[in-house]
C-alpha cells in the first residue's frame, strides 16, 4: 500500500465523517429556509412590536453563540474521533489529566455565560419597567377556554369597555396588559407582539408592555395547559390605525340599533326564553351576564369559539346548536349547554329555527 492509498483512505473516512456531520447542519438549514420562506402567523422571528423585536435580537445572538460553541465541540469531537481511531502499532497515551487545561476550560464557559448574562439582565430590567401613563391599559382574564378583555375608562359613560377573544389596539401606542384568571392557570402569548406571561387565579400579573409598529392581525394562543380544550383557546390581536381604533371604540360604546324580522325574533329569544343574558353581556342593553364572553358587536368579529372558527352564520349556528361537536368542552353546568341537543322537554332546548333567529340577531350587531 502506497502512502497515497493511505491518504486516500483517510480522506474517505473524513468524507464519510463529514457527511454524518453535515446531516444536522443540513437539516438546520432546511428548517431555517422554512422559517424565512413562509408567513407563519405565530413566527417568533417576524416581530411586529418593539418588545418582540428586541427579544428576537437577543434570541438570534444566543443562537449564534450556541452555534459557535456547539460547532466547536461537534467538529472538535469529530476530529478527535478520526485522528485517534485505533491503528495497528499505535498505543494510547496514558494521560490522566492536566490541571492547567482543566482550569482553562472551566473559565471559558464562565466567560461565555457572562457575555450572555449581561443582555439577559438588561432585558429583564427592561421588561420590569412600568408602563408610561399614556399607555393603553387592558385587563385580560383567562377562562376555560376563552379570554375576557376589558378596557378601563373608555367604555360607555366613562366605565369599562368589554369584549372577548379579539383585542383591538392602535398602532404606535404602548399597550399595558394585566392578566388574571377565573379558573385554572392560562398563559397569554402573541409571539409576534410579546412573549408569554401566565394568567393565574388569585394573582394579578403584568404583561411586559409593548408598542406595536405594524398594522395587522396577530395570532395568540394560550400557552399553559388548561384542560380539555387547551389547544382551542386562541385569540387575536388587531392592530389598527388610530382612526380605525377610535371608530371601533365609538361603535362599542353605542347601544345596538333596533332590528326587525328574524333578527328581532332572535333578540326576543336572547333576552327571553333562551336565557342567554344569564351569562352573556351586550353593552347598552340589560344583558349584563359575566360568566360567558361579552357579545357586544359580535357580528364584526373574525372568529368565534375563542379565535378558532371563522365567524360565519353556519359556524355560529353549529356553535349554539351543539358546541361540543366543535370543541371538547366537558358536559358540566359551568359551561354553555349544547342547546340543540338538549332533550325537547328541557326548557333551554332550542330548535334549528330558534338558533337561526339567534344567529341573525348576533350577526346583525356590527361595527359599521
Amino acid at each position: 500500500m502506497t502512502s497515497a492509498d493511505v491518504k486516500g483512505r483517510v480522506n474517505m473516512a473524513r468524507t464519510r465523517g463529514l457527511l454524518r456531520t453535515l446531516f444536522i447542519p443540513a437539516l438546520l438549514l432546511a428548517m431555517l429556509v422554512a422559517i424565512a420562506s413562509c408567513t407563519v402567523p405565530q413566527n417568533n422571528f417576524a416581530p411586529a412590536s418593539d418588545r418582540a423585536q428586541s427579544v428576537m435580537s437577543l434570541y438570534i445572538f444566543l443562537i449564534v453563540a450556541a452555534s459557535i460553541v456547539g460547532g466547536g465541540v461537534l467538529f472538535g469531537t469529530l476530529y478527535l474521533i478520526v485522528r485517534y481511531r485505533a491503528r495497528p502499532g499505535v498505543q494510547a497515551r496514558q494521560i490522566h489529566g492536566n490541571n492547567l487545561l482543566e482550569i482553562g476550560w472551566t473559565l471559558v464557559p464562565i466567560f461565555v455565560l457572562v457575555i450572555i448574562a449581561i443582555p439577559t439582565i438588561i432585558g429583564i430590567a427592561g421588561a420590569a419597567r412600568p408602563p408610561r401613563d399614556e399607555a393603553l391599559h387592558i385587563r385580560v382574564v383567562g377562562h376555560q377556554w376563552w379570554w375576557e378583555v376589558e378596557y378601563e375608562d373608555i367604555g360607555p359613560n366613562g366605565g369599562a369597555l368589554r369584549t372577548a377573544n379579539e383585542i383591538f389596539v392602535p398602532v404606535g401606542r404602548e399597550i399595558a396588559i394585566t392578566l388574571e384568571s377565573n379558573d385554572v392557570i392560562h398563559s397569554f402569548w402573541v409571539p409576534k407582539l410579546v412573549g408569554k406571561t401566565d394568567a393565574i387565579p388569585n394573582r394579578v400579573n403584568r404583561l411586559e408592555s409593548f408598542t406595536p409598529f405594524e398594522i395587522g392581525t396577530f395570532y395568540g394562543q394560550c400557552a399553559e395547559f388548561c384542560g380539555a380544550a387547551h389547544a382551542l383557546m386562541r385569540f387575536r390581536v388587531h392592530v389598527l390605525s388610530q382612526g380605525d381604533f377610535n371608530r371601533w371604540v365609538q361603535a362599542l360604546q353605542t347601544p345596538p340599533a333596533p332590528v326587525g324580522g328574524l333578527a328581532e325574533e332572535g333578540r326576543q329569544l336572547f333576552f327571553g326564553a333562551a336565557g342567554c343574558i344569564a351569562c352573556h353581556a351586550i353593552a347598552g342593553t340589560i344583558a349584563q351576564g359575566q360568566l360567558g364572553p361579552d357579545l357586544t358587536r359580535f357580528g364584526s368579529r373574525d372568529t368565534l369559539g375563542a379565535g378558532v372558527f371563522e365567524n360565519t352564520p353556519e359556524n355560529l349556528h353549529q356553535w349554539i346548536y351543539d358546541l361540543r361537536s366543535m370543541k371538547p368542552i366537558p358536559d358540566e353546568p359551568r359551561f354553555m349547554p349544547s342547546f340543540g341537543t338538549l332533550p325537547a322537554d328541557d326548557p333551554r332546548h332550542l330548535t334549528n329555527e330558534q338558533v337561526d333567529a339567534l344567529v341573525a340577531y348576533l350577526e346583525s350587531m356590527r361595527v359599521e
Binding site: 478527535l80 482543566e102 401566565d198 389547544a231
Partner: protein, 627 residues
C-alpha cells in the same frame, strides 16, 4: 424448633430457580434485571403513547385521537418516561453493578432493595390501571394546581396519578438510602472514595439527590391528596390559595429530578469512554466534582421553570444567573470527555458509538438549555416546542443514549452473552437519525410559535410540514427499537457465552469475575490498590497470586423473603382502597382496613425474620440462630 419459623405457605422460599425465586429474590443482580425488564416494557408503552401523539399531530386538524385521549397520552407519556423508564433503568444499573464495582456481595439492605422494586412495580401498575378504568391521568406530568382540583378535574384521573406516584416514589426514596449506605460502607478494602469508578460516584450523588428531592414531591402529593379526598384547601382557589405553592414544590423536586435522570448516563459514559479509548478518564477528580457541583447547584435553579409566572425582576434575574452557572460544570464534563479521546486508541464498538452520540446530543440539549436561562428569550420559548426539543435532547439524546451505551457495554455482565455488533451499529445509526429527525425540527416549531400540549392546530399556522417530518422521525425511532429488541432476542438465543471475564478489556472491578457473576459475586473479597485495578498490573487483585478454591456453600448470602413483596402489595392495596373509598365508601374502608392490618403484620414479619435463613445440614449456624 428449627422448623417452627417455616410453616405452611409462609415457609421461607429457598429454591434458587422458578417464578417464586424471582418474586422473593433479594439478590441485587436479579432485582437489577427486574428493574431493567420493567423499564424496557414501560419504555415500549411510553413509546406507543408517543407514537399515538405523533400520529395525531402529523397533520393539521387531524382526528386520529380525541382531545381527551391526547391529554391523557401526553400526561402518561411524560409520567411514564420520567418515573417508570429512565429512573428504573438507572436503578437497574445501580442494582446490578454497584456491588460488583465496589467489591461487595450485595447491597447493604437486600430485602429493602426488593421492597423498593415491588413498590415501584405496583405503583406503576396502579397508575396504568387507570387506562382500564377509563380515567387515565390527564392534567400533565407536572400536575399544576388548580387544574388538578376536584372542581376542574372531577374524574378519578388525578387520584390515580397522586397515589401511583406516591407508591412508586416511596420505593425510590428507600432505594436512595440503601445505595448511600451501600456505597459508603460496603466498599472492598482499599477502595477509597477516589478509587471508585465514576458510575459509582454518580450513583452516590443521585442517591443524595433522591433523598433530598423526593420528600418534597411526597409532601406536595400528600397535600394534593388531602385536597382531593378530604376537602382541605391547600390548593383551593376559592379559599384564597396561591397556585404557585404547587409549582414551587413541584420544581424544587422537579429540577433535581432532571439530574437524577441524566447523572446515571454521565456515569456510564465516563466508564465506557476510557475502556474504548484504552486510556484513563481525563481528569477523573474534575469529572467527579463537576457531577457533585451539578447536583448541588441543581437545588438552586427550580424557578427557571417559572420564568413566566410573574416572580418579579429580582427573582427571575437571580434564578437566570444561577441556571447559567450549571452550564459551567456541565461544560467541564464535556471537555473532559473530549480530552479522554485525545491521544487514545479509539475502538468504535456499539457502546462507544452510543457514548459518543450521548456527548454530542447531550451537548446540543445543554446549549438550548442555556438559551432558556435568558429570561427575555424564554418568554418566547417557555411551553413552546422549543422546550420539547430541548428536554428530549437531554433526556433522550442524553439519558437514553447513555443508558443504551450501558446496555451494550454490560450486557455480557448481565447475561453472559454479547449483543451482536453489526445489529448494534445498525440500531445506533437508525436511532441517531430518527432522533434528530424527530427532535431537531421541534426547535423550529417552537420558533414558529407552536405551543406544547395542544392536540390540534389549524392549517393556516404553517406547522404542517415540520410536524410531518417530526412524526416520520418518531416512527424511525420506533424501528430502531425493534432492531434493538431483535438484537437482544437473537443474541440471547444464538450468541455463544463469553469465555473471558473481561471481553472489552475494561479496567474496573466488575470485570474481574465471571459473566454473569455467581450469586455471591466475589469468591474472595478483593483488595483494591488503584482506580484501574484491572489495568495497573501490580495492583491487580485477582492474579497473581492464584486463589485457593472456594466452597460456595461457605459464603452466606441473604435468603429470599416473601415480606418485601407482601408489604409492597399491602401498601398498594391501601392506596387502591382509598381510590375505591372515594366512589364507594364502605368497600373502600374495608379494603383499607384489611390492607392496613396486612401491612402491619408483614412489617412485623419483615422486621423479625433473620436476614440469612439457617441452612439445613449447617448445624453450627442453624443452632446459633435459634438459641
Amino acid at each position: 424448633m428449627a422448623t417452627t419459623a417455616r410453616v405452611g405457605i409462609l415457609q421461607r422460599p429457598l429454591a434458587p430457580t422458578g417464578v417464586w425465586s424471582w418474586i422473593t429474590t433479594v439478590d441485587h443482580k436479579r432485582i437489577g434485571i427486574l428493574y431493567g425488564v420493567t423499564a424496557l416494557i414501560m419504555f415500549l408503552i411510553g413509546g406507543l403513547e408517543a407514537l399515538a401523539i405523533r400520529a395525531q399531530l402529523a397533520t393539521s386538524d387531524a382526528n386520529v385521537i380525541s382531545a381527551e385521549t391526547f391529554n391523557a397520552l401526553f400526561t402518561m407519556h411524560g409520567t411514564t418516561m420520567v418515573f417508570m423508564v429512565v429512573m428504573p433503568a438507572g436503578a437497574a444499573f445501580f442494582n446490578f453493578l454497584i456491588p460488583l464495582m465496589i467489591g461487595a456481595r450485595d447491597v447493604a439492605f437486600p430485602r429493602l432493595n426488593a421492597f423498593s422494586y415491588w413498590l415501584f412495580l405496583f405503583g406503576t401498575v396502579l397508575m396504568n390501571v387507570s387506562f382500564l378504568a377509563g380515567a387515565a391521568p390527564d392534567s400533565g406530568w407536572f400536575g399544576y394546581a388548580p387544574l388538578t382540583a376536584n372542581t376542574f378535574t372531577p374524574s378519578a384521573s388525578v387520584d390515580y396519578w397522586v397515589l401511583g406516584l406516591q407508591v412508586l416514589g416511596l420505593g425510590t426514596l428507600i432505594a436512595g438510602f440503601n445505595f448511600v449506605v451501600t456505597i459508603l460502607n460496603l466498599r472492598a478494602p482499599g477502595m477509597t472514595l477516589m478509587r471508585m469508578p465514576v458510575f459509582v460516584w454518580m450513583t452516590l450523588i443521585i442517591s443524595f439527590l433522591i433523598i433530598f428531592a423526593f420528600p418534597v414531591l411526597t409532601i406536595a402529593l400528600t397535600l394534593l391528596m388531602f385536597d382531593r379526598f378530604f376537602g382541605t384547601n391547600f390548593f383551593a382557589m376559592a379559599a384564597g390559595a396561591d397556585p404557585l405553592l404547587w409549582q414551587h414544590f413541584f420544581w424544587i423536586f422537579g429540577h433535581p429530578e432532571v439530574y437524577i435522570l441524566i447523572l446515571p448516563a454521565m456515569g456510564i459514559v465516563s466508564d465506557v469512554l476510557p475502556t474504548f479509548a484504552r486510556k484513563p478518564l481525563f481528569g477523573y477528580a474534575t469529572v467527579v466534582f463537576a457531577g457533585a457541583a451539578i447536583a448541588f447547584l441543581g437545588f438552586g435553579v427550580w424557578a427557571h421553570h417559572m420564568f413566566t409566572v410573574g416572580l418579579g425582576a429580582w427573582a427571575t434575574g437571580a434564578f437566570a444567573v444561577a441556571t447559567m452557572t450549571i452550564a459551567v460544570p456541565t461544560g467541564v464534563k464535556i471537555f473532559n470527555w473530549m480530552a479522554t479521546l485525545y491521544g487514545g486508541s479509539l475502538r468504535f464498538q456499539t457502546p462507544m458509538l452510543f457514548a459518543l452520540g450521548f456527548i454530542l446530543m447531550f451537548m446540543l440539549g445543554g446549549l438550548s438549555g442555556v438559551m432558556h436561562a435568558s429570561v427575555p428569550v424564554d418568554t418566547q420559548q417557555q411551553d413552546s416546542y422549543f422546550v420539547v426539543a430541548h428536554f428530549h435532547y437531554v433526556l433522550f439524546g442524553g439519558s437514553v443514549f447513555g443508558l443504551m451505551a450501558g446496555i451494550y457495554y454490560w450486557f455480557p455482565k448481565f447475561t453472559g452473552r454479547m449483543l451482536r455488533e453489526g445489529i448494534g451499529k445498525v440500531h445506533f445509526w437508525i436511532m441517531l437519525i430518527g432522533f434528530n429527525l424527530t427532535f431537531m425540527p421541534m426547535h423550529v416549531l417552537g420558533v414558529l410559535g407552536m405551543p406544547r400540549r395542544i392536540y390540534t392546530y389549524s392549517a393556516d399556522q404553517g406547522w404542517d410540514l415540520l410536524n410531518g417530518i417530526v412524526s416520520a422521525g418518531a416512527f424511525i425511532i420506533a424501528i430502531s427499537l425493534l432492531v434493538f429488541l431483535y438484537n437482544v432476542w437473537t443474541s440471547l438465543r444464538n450468541n455463544p457465552r463469553v469465555t473471558t471475564t473481561n471481553p472489552w478489556g475494561a479496567s474496573t472491578l466488575e470485570w474481574s469475575i465471571p459473566n454473569p457473576p455467581p450469586v455471591y459475586n466475589f469468591a474472595v473479597v478483593p483488595t483494591v490498590r488503584s482506580l484501574h485495578p484491572l489495568w495497573d498490573e501490580d495492583a491487580n487483585p485477582i492474579d497473581p497470586p492464584a486463589l485457593p478454591p472456594v466452597d460456595a456453600r461457605a459464603i452466606h448470602m441473604p435468603s429470599p423473603s416473601y415480606w418485601p413483596v407482601v408489604l409492597a402489595g399491602a401498601i398498594t392495596l391501601l392506596a387502591a382502597g382509598l381510590l375505591i373509598w372515594k366512589q364507594a365508601s364502605l368497600p373502600g374502608l374495608v379494603i383499607m382496613m384489611a390492607s392496613g392490618v396486612l401491612m402491619l403484620y408483614s412489617l412485623f414479619r419483615f422486621a423479625v425474620e433473620p436476614a440469612t435463613e439457617p441452612v439445613h445440614g449447617h448445624g453450627a449456624h442453624g443452632a446459633a440462630a435459634h438459641h
